[in-house]
């Protein structure tokens, strides 16, 4: 009887504690747990992302071929409708530069370079890169890094106020944040864990949509050949090493039981648009 009681007591203790405690990090106190994002916060994110997109487009031009742009946007919209955030409208564009890279601005403004598409072999690789970028937006990597939020409840405060040019301080803050975001995308990179997380999202969505996830891994592995050359310089600075990424992708696929069955690559369709570059 006593033994049963003590077992039950122990069980209660464990059961209660696992229910009550936060699973991920139970040491975090109420003031440290990431608060939810309000509508005002999301509006601030979109405003900031749009401004950042405008800054990028001031520097790098859009690719002139509208059919190509439509293709990327269609692929992107399909992927985003499966894994993107409900409240955002995602926009996609190809920028006319030879660098191999892709950029995700907060709020869903996503860019892929001409150079990156040129090195791709099939649609699965393109879908993987798009999914990786959508992963950055979904996980709010830049938003969290720069702590972008609306200051008050109304969208006319905080970051949003900066856009109205209501004060010099707000304007300077906006410029500095934009500078910092630019630096994150084009120079420093966000951080390794965020990149691995985005790669994992990319591979997950590929398999969920029936694409060939191995093509994406091969694409990442193939980037090694461009590192060191002019085209791969920015990529190298802003992402973890290729071998680390490939290892993480393989590890993740094994853990998730993706298996080695090959999904679709839609190479023919891809080549049709590839010629438009």
């Amino acid at each position: 009887m006593k033994k049963i009681l003590s077992i039950l007591i122990l069980f209660q203790f464990f059961a209660f504690s696992s229910i009550l405690a936060d699973e991920t990090n139970f040491r975090l106190r109420e003031n440290q747990i990431e608060q939810g994002y309000s509508e005002a916060d999301i509006e601030a994110e979109i405003q900031f992302g749009r401004n950042l997109a405008a800054t990028i487009l001031a520097k790098y031009k859009l690719h002139p071929n509208r059919e190509l742009q439509r293709y990327i946007a269609t692929l992107g919209t399909a992927i985003a409708s499966q894994i993107g955030r409900d409240e955002l409208t995602y926009y996609f564009a190809v920028i006319d530069v030879d660098d191999i890279n892709a950029y995700a601005c907060p709020g869903g403004y996503i860019f892929i370079t001409k150079g990156a598409i040129q090195t791709m072999a099939n649609e699965a690789q393109l879908a993987g890169v798009i999914a990786h970028e959508i992963g950055h937006v979904d996980h709010r990597h830049v938003v969290k890094n720069l702590k972008i939020r609306a200051k008050g409840d109304s969208a006319t405060s905080g970051i949003a106020a900066a856009f109205g040019g209501t004060s010099a301080t707000a304007r300077i803050l906006l410029d500095q944040l934009t500078e910092k975001a630019f630096s994150l995308l084009f120079e420093e990179g966000i951080n390794k864990d965020s990149e691995f997380e985005a790669d994992a999202t990319g591979v997950e969505i590929l398999t969920a949509l029936g694409y060939d996830w191995q093509s994406y891994r091969d694409y990442v592995a193939g980037l090694q050949g461009y590192i060191g050359q002019g085209q791969g310089q920015v990529l190298n600075k802003t992402h973890p090493s290729v071998s680390q990424r490939v290892d993480k992708i393989t590890q993740f696929s094994n853990q998730s039981n993706f298996g080695e069955l090959h999904g679709k690559t839609n190479t023919t369709r891809f080549q049709k648009y590839h010629r438009l570059l």
């Binding site: 692929l75 919209t77 399909a78 409900d86 409240e87 304007r171 690559t265 369709r269």
Partner: protein, 175 residues
């Protein structure tokens, strides 16, 4: 120590206390087991419910955005759910804790242009502030007067297609 305390109590008041403690624990145990299942909503445009947690296994159901399901179990990237009297596995990226949110849009006006006379003092202030904050000179120079090509952004925003068209483009295409 705890056990001997219980046994002392037991001796003093007979089996009553022990029985009460035992029934209390059993009651709590039952409460734990019968906690309501976590509700979730389908976030994706569409989502398949599979027989087992693998994309290659048999598809049992096709759900659409906004449908509500009950989470039964989690295993890696897969979630076992209960919906329309059936259970099956769905990819975790397809689900969300919250009901579908409506699209949030912003007023798409470019940042107000200042008159030429007003611009320069602020630019100097901005550059000075940037210099004080320690950003490099090259970065400071990037703060241009009309930083931002909003026409290009508007152009980019016209490329988007409807979700239905996009999904057909991916799902229905076969090579």
């Amino acid at each position: 120590m705890f056990i001997s305390d219980i046994s002392t109590l037991n001796q003093r008041v007979g089996g009553m206390v022990t029985k009460k403690a035992l029934s209390c624990f059993i009651f709590l145990f039952l409460i734990h087991s019968s906690l309501p299942l976590q509700a979730a909503f389908v976030k994706s445009y569409f989502a398949y419910v599979y027989e087992s947690p693998q994309a290659q296994s048999e598809i049992k159901l096709r759900l659409t955005r906004g449908q509500s399901v009950e989470e039964v179990e989690k295993s890696g990237n897969w979630v076992k759910i209960k919906v329309e009297e059936q259970t099956g596995w769905i990819h975790r990226l397809s689900l969300s804790d919250q009901a579908t949110l409506s699209k949030i849009s912003i007023s798409k006006k470019p940042i107000a242009k200042r008159s030429k006379r007003q611009r320069n003092p602020r630019l100097r202030t901005a550059r000075a502030a940037v210099g004080v904050k320690g950003l490099r000179e090259s970065q400071a120079n990037r703060i241009k007067e009309d930083a931002g090509d909003y026409e290009a952004v508007a152009e980019m925003e016209t490329y988007v297609v409807s979700e239905e068209t996009a999904m057909q483009f991916i799902v229905e295409y076969q090579e």
